[in-house]
Subunit: 312 residues, 2 copies
């Protein structure tokens, strides 16, 4: 594999792009040749975001032609056809054939997938999942979502919807989630829901409370915050243990802001997950390694994927 | 593919074997050339069961040599090495290299897997899962266990433990399961546990109550039995909906005695599973088609599998 790889990340509120020389990818610490980040302006549409991203790509490539393009999109994507279903953040994305548009624009093959699948791929190829054939990646952040590597390749499900661990139910009598069910993992463990539960408990405006603040209060020993954070950690742990019983991955990688909630949170997630899984179902739970550039590294991994499983 | 396929089923309390001509398998209704069933006597051991199965095979083959052998085993098996881990019913099976023993005995390739994976394979190749690339098969019987077909091939997990939907937790405050957790799918939905709950509720000896009887009482409108059966159906439905959110299979096939509990049971399982899954996660839930011979048909499918994923 030679040439330049263009990696693009449509992140909802920001756009990132980077270029790397494919030859560098086998080195211990491959570095970007160039890297750009731009906020997606508040009046952004699919059209303006596309134009901005193409401009960033052109700037990074400086007249050179890439050999491949990988794209991470922060919303549902039909991987097979390379079409964005919609964005929850930016209007006008419905049914945009993003893969074809990039391929036409740059004259080279492009691949696109949703951010959870791309992050799973990135951690597997460059991060905490290296060398593992069966992997679940879960981001615990504004939402809770995941992606699978099974038998050494990405698994997306019959309609590309696999990995929705955030909406598995772990407490049918638990609090109500926006999805209409009670006790979803996301309802218990995501940052905004923990913030909301804390705001209500303390009679504070929701505007003033974040998931991060709940974790800080818990660290300081504020009882209600401890209870909210621990309920979230346990709910996530049951969800992960259930997933382990169902698929028997050898590793689970956790990313996202909520994973910065401290040792006690990690200890409870791990303990609950292992208690939920059968003793024969063994796995480790480790933090993601790629940090803020995870979608871009994942986009590189996506660009490098064998094309065999693609039908178009 | 030509020649005879020998299919063997070590079922815990009974042994079955059958022979089929591979050429027939593409016909609409392929039939066994010969079929034998024998109870595993109460004093049975791994050794006597093996000897009996080999004798049945020899009798069915009548001097001919099979081209391949498929074996379903009612307990944990290491698929890659072809070694039985143990049997919960018959002593002496620990670490038996059953694949090698059959291959040596008959001088042809043999494949072995646990009964849930084999049943999934059978329904996929010959039954209710034909034509589907992403499938979850679940047996709801003495236990609750499952097997996956993902991207058009069996998925077994990192250590062959995938499919343990029976021990996913759907009600953390629910009744205690033998596995040590509360509110497992198996604790709520399996025949023996429903029988036990009914026996306790009615003050009857456990010996007198079966899962089947609970379903009959429910059919007659006995309130406590209705409640027990419905709780089981809902628990299973949450487990199936969670599995659908995690893997997005396009079909779920249900087999086992408890699936004969009537229309109301099916309706509740389906409704709960679809309510638990996100609206975008679509799938149907259908009854298994292969009946009592399911493990044998699955063993045939196993014998026919490409050998690529096998490391030994």
């Amino acid at each position: 594999m030679a040439g330049l790889i263009l990696a693009c990340d449509f992140g909802g509120t920001k756009l990132s792009a980077a270029v790397i020389e494919a030859e560098l990818l086998d080195k211990p610490e491959p570095a970007w040749r160039g890297h750009l980040r731009r906020l997606s302006p508040s009046g952004a549409s699919a059209q303006t975001d596309m134009a901005a991203m193409i401009e960033m790509g052109r700037e990074l490539l400086a007249g050179e032609r890439p050999s491949r393009i990988g794209i991470s999109f922060g919303g549902p994507v039909d991987y097979k056809s390379g079409v964005v279903r919609l964005s929850h953040h930016v209007p006008g994305w419905e049914n945009t054939p993003i893969q074809r548009l990039f391929a036409d624009e740059f004259g080279v093959p492009a691949q696109v997938d949703n951010d959870a699948n791309v992050a799973a791929l990135g951690e597997w190829r460059f991060g905490a999942g290296r060398g593992v054939a069966d992997l679940l990646y879960v981001t615990v952040s504004t939402g809770v979502g995941g992606g699978w590597i099974l038998d050494g390749r990405p698994y997306r499900g019959a309609a590309g919807m696999a990995g929705e661990i955030g909406h598995t139910v772990v407490a049918p009598d638990g609090p109500l989630c926006l999805c209409g069910k009670r006790g979803c993992v996301e309802r218990l463990a995501s940052g905004p829901y923990m913030a909301r539960d804390a705001a209500i408990a303390f009679g504070m405006p929701l505007y003033d409370v974040s998931g991060k603040l709940v974790a800080e209060w818990a660290e300081q020993g504020v009882e209600t915050a401890v209870a909210i954070l621990e309920r979230g950690a346990r709910g996530l742990g049951v969800g992960l243990g259930n997933a382990a019983n169902l698929l028997n991955p050898s590793r689970i990688v956790l990313g996202g802001g909520v994973t910065k909630s401290g040792e006690r949170w990690w200890q409870l997630v791990r303990q609950t997950a292992h208690e939920t899984a059968l003793p024969e179902v063994q796995f480790d739970i480790v933090p993601a390694q790629l940090g803020d550039d995870a979608p871009l590294w994942g986009a590189v991994a996506l660009a490098l994927l064998e094309q065999t499983s693609q039908s178009n």
